[in-house]
Amino acid sequence: MSDLRDLYQSVILDHNKRPRNFGELEDSNRTAKGYNPLCGDKLTVYLVLKNDVIEAVRFVGSGCAISTASASLMTQSVKGKTVAEAERLFDGFHELVTGDSSERIDDGDLGKLAVFGGVREFPVRVKCATLAWHTLKSALDGAGKVAQTE
């Protein structure tokens, strides 16, 4: 069961049970919807983007523990960041969960997001972890497209 405990770390289980920044954001100026047709996970990300800084971020949706916790932790980690900083976090997070990077990822930059390191051992769950981030990117791009993992 050690592998499963790597995937379902207590921080992830906690954020699944009590997602932070959950709910709509009335004065948001950017929103995007994300959808994973494979498992039916759906979420909407709301942003207040001012002078290139993410001043506020919230989300609503339903999904598995990995996708819910990922959305919750994402909102915490991108709040107050510039668009470029948020995109760098996404890149680092993506490398962390896919294990694509040949270099050792510096977990320090990712902060709490490092708890998703176990996901790379579960390739079918990578899309669960990245859905919120793809949706964030879509909101930042402002294209109004539904972010899809497929």
Binding site: L4, C39, D41, K42, G63, A65
Partner: protein
Amino acid sequence: MSVAAKGSARAALDLDEVRRDFPVLEQTSHGKPLVFLDSAASAQKPTQVIDSISDFYRRDYANIHRGVYELSERATRAFERTRELTREFLGASESREIIFVRSTTEAINLVAASYGRGHVRNGDEILVTAMEHHSNIVPWQLLCEATGARLRVAPIDDRGQLLLGEFEKLLTPRTRIAAVAHVSNALGTVNPVAEVVQLAHAKGVPVLLDGAQAVPHSKVDVRELDCDFYAFSGHKLFGPSGVGVLYGKAELLEAMPPYQGGGEMILTVSFEKSTFAEIPHKFEAGTPDIAGVVGLGAAVEYVTRIGLDRIVAYESELLDHGTKLLTSIPGVRLIGTAERKASILSFVVDGVHPHDVGTILDQEGIAVRTGHHCAQPVMEYFGVPATTRASLALYNTHAELEALAAGVGKVREIFG
């Protein structure tokens, strides 16, 4: 594992022998014995089917129906033998009523396109039920979009049973066809299809039955049911994927226009006008999956030899055992608790998304399906985004269901 001790059905079905027939089952997954509980998505294949396909390619393969040489005649005989085996398997009167297609999906699309073109007009209605698989919804929606017809949906109750009275009320003078699952893939409900056909015929409405989930788990007799069309897939019946069957009453098939044009389905071709072959060839354009059809024949023979009565009795024991085990776990809710069910245990675990359940079970070597099972309207009706589905076949064991229950216990342990 001793199987002789308990119950007559278990003694009747030689489980050890059956399991030896399925080589894929003899493996481990994540270090645990593989527990395969996803046969409703696609069933595993017995050696008899695997060998029939490789033997056919080694000894008998050539294109069919047109060769003047011995090898082609032999291949044609093997291909047509499956048609006869399938006729007998379904209880059809004539083998020309058996059309080989790719899958249940293609069979339904064939009827929607071909029968639909001839019979469905603007303002007409097509009747389905709330528990249909997407493949028995979307082809009819496409037909509705093309013709201006309207899709009507007969409701189900909280146990996942068709409300027959409501179904009858929805049969109107505008209803052109009713399309109903024999067994629901998401819920396991066995529909009262004989009554469905009677009610529809009383109003002059033909009926297509989607038998994808029914043929591996029940004896089907299309003449007794009196259905007009019956569709199933080879791969759910322990045969190869890529082959399916459409049964249709000869007089209906004869009156229907071709579905696809091409070789095999023609009588004469000129640039002015082509004429078409008789059924079943009219609906079999192009070179089919010849070896696949031969493999389907082996699958039909396999199931027939084991005996569907034995399979039904054994699977019913398994289903009871699994139902008892799962419902005794706190926080587990079965989705689909019909009086008459077959082979499906669809469930949700309180506070845990099915995708997480599936991952944890996978680590225990248990293969289940999680998601909406191509039946999103069913999920919506039960107010769940998805379920975990364990589906049974003749090779599953009581011990495997105990492993499933233990795995669900681990899920609850991890999620607290």
